[in-house]
Symmetry: C2
Subunit: 149 residues, 2 copies
DNA sequence: TTGAATGCAAATCGTTTGCATCTCA
DNA sequence: TGAGATGCAAACGATTTGCATTCAA
């Protein structure tokens, strides 16, 4: 058990993996550490480059990165973020928030979702005639940042 | 000028292309007709298969489909839809709505966005410290439909 | 007439798969 | 010990590019 920046209790990476039914392997630990250190969405290549940079880490194959991203996503530890880029981006699935994305330079600003929006989305989900379980949503804003405008 | 299903005035495809600075070519007309006929998001391969089926249409190369989807999207006639699938999906950009997507069978249900949500999103945009122009947003719900649940 | 659109072949990019080997639990 | 994880090479699917030719305006 340790503390994060804001002083909240957080579980260790080991426990996080165990809790979600994932074996603890060096690759998995390294990848999760990169997500925790870099607080922005990352794609497979981003992760792979970070792994190469860190000389304390034995080289991890790019394919292993893809496989781990897949298993971490399926187990719910990380989630996919829609940034309208060519590659698939992921981030930790521990803090519900959304993004404003600059379509010119790629800058990302986070925003916390308003509780009112969540309620409205729930209402929409209830009204649906064809769906029973609506579990997730994507909500991202796109535009140009102050520098690019 | 012609009428659509709901009796609203709609401009012809020719005018739509002209208005958005696109040359009128057989490929472009055929592709737009497919979007208008099928009222669901379509990817390049979907379009290409539809073109092959229709024997009134001279075969159009798959690459031409990609190039046209790109130019139609850049000119604002069609827009990209985030369905969390591998290929890029597009639909006509004339009727602002969002989607509920079944992550199991791919079923898509449309929903009109609540005006309250739009207001809340505008507030979020105004609060942003790093962005000046926020023009678009993605908002899709994901879950399982009644059949798959 | 001219810049844009097309077709074809080939290349590219992100991602996945098969298979032998290794490792965590 | 056995299921899952890894590395390597190869395959794959979606999309893009180069280039010569054709076409819309």
């Amino acid at each position: 058990m340790c503390m994060n920046d804001s002083g909240h209790k957080t579980i260790s990476i080991n426990d996080l993996l165990k809790k979600n039914g994932q074996k603890i392997t060096p690759a998995r630990l390294s990848i999760l550490n990169i997500f925790i250190k870099n607080k922005i969405p990352l794609c497979a290549l981003d992760i792979y480059k970070e792994l190469l940079k860190d000389k304390k880490i034995n080289n991890i194959n790019e394919v292993t990165v893809y496989r781990n991203l897949s298993s971490l996503e399926k187990s719910g530890i990380i989630k996919i973020v829609n940034l309208r880029r060519d590659a698939v981006y992921f981030e930790m699935n521990n803090d519900h928030h959304h993004h404003i994305v600059c379509t010119n330079c790629g800058l990302i600003e986070d925003f916390k979702e308003n509780k009112n929006i969540e309620k409205l989305l729930e209402q929409i989900a209830e009204k649906s005639t064809k769906f029973k379980n609506i579990k997730e949503h994507s909500l991202e804003l796109f535009g140009t940042c102050k520098v690019c405008s």
